[in-house]
Assembly symmetry: C2
Homo-oligomer: 504 residues x 2
């Protein structure tokens, strides 16, 4: 059936090109029109997915809900996420997506996975937590036995327990901490007039959380809580980009990167013992793209070492930080060529094309990531402006990790219907949906990003088949071995069938 | 040289697909990278244009200016046009674009081509001009010998001359008229929170200007002034979508459509006698897409009649009005099939895909316009979400008329770097730049839209070759006969060469 449709379209297009069908027939043949429409629907992400009768019934229900929501005066994908959040939370589609098994989260960062309320209400209430207030209205945290040495541009350290006991209302203080740990604000357009300003606050938030999560006991608990929150959001597997920083103990002692990786592995094993249907997590070691070539060589060497020593949990290597402000991949070509030269495998998972400055060195990252044989492309926002890179990505089966809320909050696009992923999806380009830094954006897990993707990309043309393919893509394009993928798909299928029958 | 580049890329891609180049070589070959980058540059609009040494020198100058402008904190294509206007007016690139011969304006509407200040300062100051003030803070105008009959929802008519003599400051009144005739406002985001509201004000502005421009003497002067303003902006030829309404005389007598068309033809001939290097204008007869099928049949019949009687000036037929609120092209299929059934040629120039509601009936217009053998596509904003329609458009050589400022003001996209035309241009899709309704948007001619297109689409990747191709495209994709195009190109070339040598 499908190939019949495709063939008839191919023949039709051929005849048009050859001029045998002049297309000035005045009255288009309705059946020809139908077949063109079917072919276009078929090409879309999820367009070729076969649905069971149960799935078709659920689809009817979903599409009806979607149509109702699309005509509301406040259609969430057209609004800034901070303003859209309450509308999304009331959406029946969102409730459904929360329950839907979403497969894997393939693009999330270590220190923005856990609800910042948990961080404040749990972590900052622990013993020995100090706070100081910076000159630029931010805060820093540190756990310590005694009074820590003062930081530059920061007030002297106060023990939080003492501070809280002195003030009447801890809630106001806690809320101010949350404001420093996230970008969330009532009027984002005024607060963040341009990319420079929003990125400054974004990077600031990482500095705030850093002192909390690099405290060794918190590091473990934080990772456990991250797994728990994503698991609760019906995510069964995670590939986490992680800085794997040194951690510290109360007495100032420091643990190295291997300790952090070992800690992740231990916590993960414990979590999996307690949650039999959780499939696991792998780590992509990341360094900041502000480093120079010598530092990059050291980083790649360390990545190779970690990859050799922790083959189960270590997936590969990537750079983080704002692309527009950092060095392009081509600058790091010596370092990135090292593994191959040494006959070592080190998979890359490059952020590339998270920019709308076309024709710059950084804009070239999309093509270069592919030339460096990246396994996936983080964001690839600029890819639609690079037709050759797009073709290569498709032919090499390199999926794009699309993070709609992140791109909106960091001011690459406002109305998400204009997100380039809508173009990629209309062509059935390999891609997955992820959430990047949900905690800093006031989101959580994957459901918010799935909501935006489902409502914004394709409009009424995306359906349950789209959701099914997006969910399956996250396993298909993971770094798991073929055997592991098969196991993961088996677990996923059970969850999916249960979800469908319970949603009817 | 070019075919060498292309072949090497094709062979390279083939080897990748076949798996013979695994692309995990670690160290990409710099010359291979270069050739991929060259191929991508070649595919872009203007990428294949050969530049003379003089043009290359001018390009160096232009690109330097562009690079300086792109890093300014206030980069105009990222801002709403109403806020960007003063920045654009100060831009040296804009000065250059004003002087550049831009070829033809292929998508402009009859009653929004002339600066509204001219309309107020010239037209409303004529004898016998009456004004009334509507319940919803707008105005209506009418020329009449005596006191006209009152309009519903409007104050009684005042003779403007008398009114002006009674008030101290006419400027405030004139400015309020201009505010009613345009969408321009200091805070467009607050004034126009959504598409419904901005379209309401937009359609309202047409009602305001309507009473002025359908007064027979003004009708002719307005068209003359339109030609003059576009000519002054270095546009040499125009295809104007026109409602060709009945016009009226002071005594209430009415002139029919043929009168309007004859008036246009007379004014055009006069203008061309006075401006030897102006190439002319043709008219696309338009009706509102709110009509029903019976009315559409009458409209198409009238279009055929006008096309037969005025073959020189009549180019074809189109629908106008907001697509999302109107009937889809497929609804009008009976009417649109009439010419073919009667063995008559009536070229179509459909607005199609001026929407971001995907998967709706209206969203289908892009494909249907092509199936009805449209000569060009107006806006085609949704085309990038319709890969098959996109292929058809390319293969049928149907150009997309891109109107960046219109799409931004009417809230399809905010940051123009995300405009779908940037995707189309990266693929070298046939397209032209136009201005839709410049007077209502506070723009004029084509230069503002050329500025936005040049700065937003392609970033540093678009260059003088891009501008040259865009300008030539406007003649290439016009409705002129091959012989006329040849003549137009000859005139254009002289203007272009003069522009280049004078800009060095
Ligand atoms: Zn990221
Ligand atoms: Zn238009």
């Amino acid at each position: 059936m499908r190939s019949l449709v495709r063939n008839s379209v191919v023949v039709f297009m051929l005849l048009v090109v050859l001029g045998w069908i002049p297309l000035c027939s005045g009255r288009p043949d309705p059946s020809q029109r139908e077949s063109l429409m079917r072919e276009e629907a078929f090409r879309r992400t999820g367009g070729g997915v076969l649905l069971t009768q149960e799935e078709l019934d659920l689809n009817t229900k979903v599409q009806k809900l979607k149509a109702q929501e699309m005509v509301l005066p406040e259609f969430p994908p057209t609004m800034h996420f901070f303003k859209a959040t309450p509308f999304i939370q009331r959406s029946p589609i969102f409730s459904l997506l929360k329950r839907m098994p979403k497969g894997a989260a393939l693009h999330v960062h270590d220190f923005s996975m856990v609800d910042m309320e948990w961080v404040v209400k749990n972590v900052t209430y622990r013993e020995n937590c100090y706070v100081c207030f910076t000159d630029d209205q931010s805060v820093r945290f540190l756990f310590s036995f005694g009074q820590p040495k003062p930081l530059p541009h920061c007030s002297s350290w106060s023990l939080l327990k003492t501070l809280r006991s002195k003030i009447a209302n801890s809630t106001a203080l806690d809320n101010s901490f949350i404001r420093n740990l996230t970008l969330v604000t009532k009027d984002p357009d005024s607060a963040y007039p341009n990319q420079d300003i929003v990125w400054k606050k974004f990077e600031q938030a990482f500095l705030v959380v850093y002192g909390l999560v690099t405290y060794a006991p918190v590091f473990k608990d934080y990772f456990y809580e991250a797994l728990r929150e994503f698991y609760t959001d019906n995510v069964m597997y995670i590939e986490m980009r992680a800085l794997l920083p040194e951690t510290y103990e109360l007495d100032g002692r420091r643990n190295d990167r291997a300790w952090s990786l070992q800690a992740c592995q231990d916590v993960l094993r414990q979590f999996m013992r307690e949650h039999a249907d959780f499939f696991g997590a792998r780590i992509i070691f990341t360094v900041h793209r502000g480093i120079n070539d010598t530092e990059a060589i050291k980083a790649v060497e360390e990545a190779m070492k970690l990859h050799r020593e922790f083959p189960e949990i270590m997936a590969g290597f990537d750079f983080v930080g704002r692309e527009d402000a950092g060095r392009p991949l081509w600058y790091f070509r010596e370092a990135l060529s090292l593994p191959e030269e040494r006959g070592v495998t080190l998979p890359y998972f490059f952020h590339a094309g998270e920019t709308n400055y076309e024709g710059t060195e950084v804009d070239q990252n999309v093509l270069d990531a592919l030339l460096f044989n990246t396994t996936r492309i983080g964001h690839g926002f600029a890819m639609v402006h690079h037709p050759l890179a797009k073709e290569l990505s498709r032919k090499m089966n390199v999926a794009v990790e699309v993070c709609p809320i992140s791109n909106q909050v960091l001011k690459l696009v406002s109305d998400l219907r204009n997100h380039p992923a809508a173009v990629l999806m209309s062509e059935g380009h390999p891609l997955v949906i992820s959430s990047d830094d949900p905690a800093i954006f006031g989101a959580s897990g994957l459901s918010y990003d799935f909501y935006e993707a489902f409502m914004a990309f394709g409009g009424m043309n995306s359906h349950l088949g789209t959701l099914k393919e997006l969910s399956m893509n996250s396993i298909r394009y993971s770094s798991l071995s073929p055997e592991m993928k098969e196991k993961a798909f088996a677990i996923w299928q059970k969850k999916w069938d249960k979800f469908v029958s319970e949603s009817l």
